[in-house]
Symmetry: C2
Subunit: 431 residues, 2 copies
C-alpha cells in the first residue's frame, strides 16, 4: 500500500468537522480516488473543551498552528478558519512552511488573494478554493479547467444561500423581511450577524473570485456595485409576480463592448428561467462561453457536507498532483479584458417602483424625466387606490438602457416633489 | 515562448471542424490556458476534395492515419471518427504509436472501452472523453474529479438531444412522432438514420460510461433495459400533462439496496423539476452524492462548438498534464458496488396506459391483476367517451413498486381479453 497523504485541518467549525467526517466515513472510497489513504494528522481548534460532532484522537487535536505548520509529514493544510485575521497570517505561515493550502474562505481570497497567490508561487505550493464559491457546485473547476477552450461571455449566479432562502420565503409566505430573517436565523440558514450575507458582500466577494478565473482580471470586490436585500418588500414581490418575474439576488459579470460589467443585487428574473426556479438555500450559476454556449449549474451552496465535498475534492486533487498544475495554469492567466468598467453595470431593462402623490400630471412629469435620458417605457402599472391615499405605488418597466442613464434618471426622479420615497430600481433578466 | 504542443485531428466532420475552428479562433486565449501554443500539425479526412468550413494549409491535410501516427512531433490525437471500425483499430494504432487520445466517440468507448483503456495503460498514454457524454456539459470531470469525495447515489440524465428535441416538439406543437422526426431531420437535429438516437442506444451507451466513472462498474451497454421513443403518442403526453408531468427520455443509474439499477426510456417527470424543464436539443444531468447532495447540470449536448469546447478542454488537460493523472486515478477505481442488478430497474411509481373494451367489470378485473402483484393504485383516469367506442384509454398511476412486479403485471394485463393493445408503462420521477 502507498504511504498515506497526511493533512492538517485548521479550524474545526462546521466545514472543518464536515471535512474530517467525510475523510473518515468515505476513507476506502477516497483512498481509491487518490491512490493512497488520506489521513488527518492533526487538527487545530480554538477551544479544546468544546464538544464536537466528529471524533479525533486527543493527541491529534490542539490549539497551535505550529503543530501543523512545523510537522514535515503534513503536506496539505485545509485552512477552514473564517474572516481575515488571523486567517491571512496563518495561510502565509502554512505556505512558507511548504504546505499546499485548500480553503473555503472567500473573504480572505477576495481581500488578500493576490498576496496569498504570490506567496504560493514563490514557495512552489498551490492554493485551491473550490469550496469558497457556491459550496458543492464545482464552478471553479468548470471555469478554470472544463471551459478552458472558451472565452467566457457572462457569469450570472445566485451565490448566497442565506439571501436566497429569505427571498423565496418572502415570496412563498408573504412574510416581511424582518420576520423571515428571524426564521432563517432560528433554522440555521442565517448567522446571528447576517450583514455580509444580506448586504451582498458575500456574493460580491465570490463574484470577484469568479471574474478572476473567467476573465483574468482582479477586481477589488468593494468596487463592484452592490445592492442589499433589505430594499425588497412585499409590494415589489407582488408587482414582479404580476409582470411574470421573481426577484433573486443575482451576481452578474458580463463582457459588453470589450469591457467587463459587474454588479450584485436584487434582480427581476423571468419565471421559468433556471435562476428564477432556484429556491431556498440552493445556489446556481449560469455561464455563457463562446464555444459551449449556455451552461447552468445548480446545487447546495453551503452546509457542512456540501462544502466538505468541495474541500475534500481539492485535497484529493492536491494529493494526485492536479491542483499544482491547475494553480500554475490559472496563474498564467493575464487580463484578456482591456479594462473593467465597473461603475456602469451592463445595459438592461429596469423595473422602477415609485411612491408618488396621486394628482393629475404626475405620470407625464415622471415619464418626461425618463425620456430626457433617452429611456423608453415598455409598460406601466398603477392600480386604482382609495380616494385620498397620500402616496400610490407606480411601477414602470423600461426598455433596455445603460446603467448610467437609469442611475441619473432615478436621481432626478427622487428630486421631484411628487415622489414620496426613494425609488426602487431593479435590473431585469429575461433569459 | 514555449515550444508548441502539436496535435493531430483524425476526422474533419462536424466535431473535427469545430475543434480546428476553436483552436484557430481562440489561439491566444488557449495558449494562455495551456502555457504554450496548441497547433494542428495534421488532419485526416476521407475525401480531400470535399469543401470545408475551416481552412487548413493543404500540406497539413491528408487521408492517411500514418501522417499522424508516425509523426513523432505529434503528442496528442483527437479521434473524431464515429462508429466502431475503423475507429477502434485507428485508436489502438494511435495509442501504440505513443499518442495521447482525446475522443468524442461514445459508441466506441461503450463497446471497446476496456480494451482501449488497457492499451493506453500498457503504453502509458491517456484516453480522455469529456465530449463523448452530454457534449459541452463537463459531467465527466464533475464525476471523475470534482465529486471524488462522494459516493454517488444516483445519476439521472437527458443525454440525447435528438430525442429530447422530438419530445418537446410533440409536447408543444401537438404533432405526432413521424412528423416531428421529419422536421428534426430537416433542421439538422436528427440524422438521416436516427435509429441510435430514438431507440435509446445513444443515451444507453453514455449511461454505461457514466456508470463506469461514478460506480466503478463496467456494465455492457446492451444489457441495460432500454425503451425507445416511438412508443410515445399524443394521448400519453396529454394524460401526463393532466397529471402534472412531462415525458422525457431519462437515463437512470441508481444505487438501491447495495445494487445498481439502470434503465433508459421515456419517463414521467414532474413539471417544475429541472429534468422536466429541459427542452429542445439541451441535455441535462442530475447527480446525487452522499456529501454534496443533489447537483444539476444543463447545457448543449451536441453541435459543432459545444462538443469542440469539451474536446479542446481535454486537449488542454492533456497538454498541461492533468489528463494523465485523471486517467490514472480513474483507472484505479474498482467496483464499490457489489453487483449490478440490471434486469429490474429501481423501484418507482409507474404510469400505465391501457386501451380497453368499454364494458362493466373491466376496471375491477384489471386492478385485480395489479393487486395480485402487490401493486397499489394511486389514481385512475378514464374520461367519458362516445357510446359504442371499441377501445377506451384508461390510465392508472401506481404507488411505488418494484420494476419486476410491474413488468409481470403488464405481461398479465396484456393477456386480458378486455385489453386491446399493448399497455404503455412509464416510470415516474417526482423529484
Amino acid at each position: 500500500m502507498s504511504e498515506p497523504a497526511r493533512i492538517g485541518v485548521v479550524g474545526m467549525g462546521t466545514v472543518g468537522s464536515g471535512v474530517v467526517r467525510v475523510l473518515q466515513q468515505s476513507a476506502d472510497h477516497i483512498e481509491r480516488q487518490a491512490g493512497r489513504p488520506i489521513v488527518v494528522e492533526h487538527a487545530t481548534v480554538s477551544d479544546l473543551t468544546k464538544p464536537r460532532s466528529v471524533e479525533l484522537p486527543r493527541d491529534r487535536l490542539g490549539t497551535e498552528l505550529a503543530a501543523i505548520a512545523d510537522n514535515p509529514a503534513i503536506s496539505i493544510a485545509a485552512m477552514l478558519v473564517g474572516g481575515l485575521e488571523p486567517a491571512r497570517t496563518m495561510t502565509i505561515e502554512l505556505l512558507r512552511k511548504g504546505k499546499n493550502v485548500v480553503t473555503a474562505n472567500k473573504a480572505l481570497l477576495a481581500e488578500h488573494g493576490p498576496e496569498l497567490f504570490a506567496v504560493a508561487q514563490a514557495t512552489g505550493r498551490s492554493v485551491s478554493f473550490e469550496a469558497a464559491i457556491a459550496g458543492g457546485i464545482p464552478i471553479v473547476a468548470a471555469i478554470a479547467e472544463c471551459l478552458a477552450a472558451n472565452r467566457i461571455e457572462s457569469i450570472r449566479g445566485i451565490l448566497n444561500g442565506t439571501s436566497n432562502f429569505i427571498l423565496t420565503r418572502m415570496e412563498e409566505d408573504g412574510s416581511n423581511y424582518a420576520d423571515v430573517l428571524a426564521v432563517a436565523q432560528a433554522e440555521g440558514y442565517a448567522e446571528a450577524d447576517p450583514t455580509m450575507d444580506v448586504d451582498g458582500t458575500d456574493a460580491t466577494q465570490k463574484l470577484a473570485l469568479l471574474a478572476h478565473l473567467a476573465f483574468g482580471v482582479w477586481v477589488p470586490w468593494a468596487t463592484i456595485p452592490r445592492v442589499g436585500l433589505e430594499t425588497i418588500d412585499q409590494e415589489l414581490l407582488r408587482f414582479a409576480d404580476e409582470l411574470g418575474y421573481r426577484i433573486r439576488v443575482v451576481a452578474d459579470a458580463s463582457r459588453e463592448d470589450g469591457k467587463l460589467a459587474m454588479r450584485v443585487g436584487p434582480t427581476l428574473v423571468r419565471k421559468g428561467t433556471p435562476l428564477a426556479e432556484t429556491r431556498g438555500a440552493f445556489n446556481a450559476v449560469s455561464v455563457v462561453g463562446d464555444a459551449v454556449g449556455p451552461l447552468f449549474f445548480h446545487g447546495l451552496g453551503a452546509g457542512e457536507l456540501p462544502t466538505a465535498s468541495a474541500v475534500v475534492a481539492d485535497i484529493i486533487d492536491t494529493v494526485v498532483g492536479r491542483a499544482a498544475i491547475t494553480f500554475r495554469t490559472t496563474g498564467m492567466l493575464e487580463a484578456d479584458t482591456p479594462a473593467a468598467s465597473l461603475t456602469g453595470g451592463s445595459s438592461s431593462r429596469y423595473l422602477l417602483r415609485l411612491h408618488v402623490t396621486d394628482r393629475p400630471g404626475v405620470l407625464a412629469d415622471l415619464t418626461n424625466v425618463l425620456g430626457s435620458e433617452g429611456i423608453s417605457i415598455a409598460s406601466v402599472i398603477q392600480h386604482q387606490t382609495a380616494a385620498g391615499t397620500a402616496a400610490v405605488p407606480l411601477v414602470i418597466m423600461t426598455h433596455s438602457c445603460e446603467a448610467t442613464a437609469i442611475a441619473r434618471a432615478v436621481a432626478t426622479l427622487d428630486q421631484q416633489p411628487a415622489v414620496q420615497a426613494a425609488t426602487s430600481c431593479l435590473p431585469v433578466l429575461d433569459d
